[in-house]
């Protein structure tokens, strides 16, 4: 029979020894791609490695290693790891911006304290990204954040992003703010369309199902 059963091969070299932040930092700085990958993966269990992870992200060229770096920061999910990722929301590199946003979402509670400030950031682009991140918070926290934004936000695109989040959350409490925003931006076709659709969705989600 051509099928053979064998014990798995011995664990790869380097599967064990990266037990401290210093070793991880060295591997991230000087290692080849496989070594940097192994270091990034090991770092997920070592909160002390956050500074090294942050430094490595800035210049990493391997897509896979970059993923592992973001995942490590997301798994550590400490205030330090959140703060290491936040600046990347402003990056000119679309990939870094969006993976940073995804990592912050994956951090869950660790990132939530920072979201309110992001919703008031001076950059409209960052505010738009923050509206997407709000989606992952419990709806009773997310809805008021979006509604407060809708009452004060001058940029159409940021309002649209908040409306998208409210349409998904579907909280009835958002209806007044949605209607006020529609008044404020009367005559802007996409935003009017978005708000009307969001209102419909919020209302339909409040209907009791028939068996």
């Amino acid at each position: 029979m051509p099928l053979t059963r064998k014990p798995p091969p011995a664990p790869p070299a380097g599967a064990g020894p990266l037990a401290d932040a210093a070793a991880i930092a060295r591997a991230l700085a000087d290692g080849n791609e496989d070594e940097r990958w192994a270091a990034a993966r090991a770092a997920a269990n070592l909160p002390d490695s956050v500074p090294a992870l942050k430094d490595a992200l800035a210049g990493e060229t391997s897509a896979a290693v970059r993923e592992a770096l973001f995942s490590a920061l997301a798994r550590i999910a400490s205030p330090q790891s959140a703060e290491a990722v936040l600046p990347l929301l402003r990056s000119d590199d679309a990939l870094l911006r969006t993976r940073a946003s995804d990592a912050l979402v994956a951090m869950k509670q660790a990132a939530w304290p920072y979201i309110a400030a992001l919703l008031r950031d001076e950059s409209a682009d960052v505010r738009v990204l923050a509206c997407g991140m709000v989606r992952e918070m419990p709806s009773e926290r997310a809805a008021p954040l979006c509604c407060d934004l809708l009452d004060a936000e001058p940029e159409q695109n940021v309002c649209a992003a908040a409306v998208e989040t409210l349409a998904e959350i579907g909280h009835a409490s958002a209806l007044p703010a949605l209607m006020r925003c529609a008044q404020r931006f009367r005559g802007t076709p996409f935003l009017e369309f978005s708000i009307n659709t969001a209102i419909d969705r919020v209302r339909s989600q409040a209907i009791t199902p028939r068996a």
Binding site: A94, L95, A124, V158, A167, T197, A198
Partner: protein, 130 residues
């Protein structure tokens, strides 16, 4: 006379309301529309069917629009040459330049009016029918 196949547009955006808005405008104008909510889903759609135009958002989860375009342009013809209109909330010159480098044929700052959308669609892939 046989109907010519309609031109097919793939709308790639993580915001459902944006996709809905573009779909309504493009379908009214006679285009056939499919949707993807990030660059990865778009690549899968492109393996399954032919498209005449891509409307590509930039900031999306899992894979952003520019990474998607780079991967697309690295593939073989005819897939790699599908026209792409990149739309984004971002207007800074370096963001526009990055989109062109990635392989955008046009870049339009959001929000896109339905008229502009249909004009670009007709420009980039011809009339919806045939």
């Amino acid at each position: 006379m046989a109907d010519k196949p309609r031109k097919r547009v793939l709308v790639i955006d993580d915001a459902s309301l944006v996709r809905l808005y573009y779909r309504a405008a493009l379908e009214s104008a006679g285009f056939e529309v499919a949707e993807a909510l990030n660059g990865l889903e778009a690549l899968e759609q492109l393996l399954a069917a032919r498209f005449d135009l891509l409307i590509v958002d930039v900031n999306m989860p899992q894979m952003d629009g520019l990474s998607f375009l780079e991967k697309l342009r690295a593939k073989s013809l005819p897939l790699s040459s599908v026209p792409a209109l990149v739309t984004s909330t971002e207007s800074a010159p370096q963001r526009v330049a990055a989109a062109r480098v990635a392989g955008a044929n046009f870049y339009v700052v959001k929000p896109l009016s339905t008229e502009t959308l249909v004009q670009y669609a007709s420009l980039l892939c011809g009339a919806p029918h045939g």
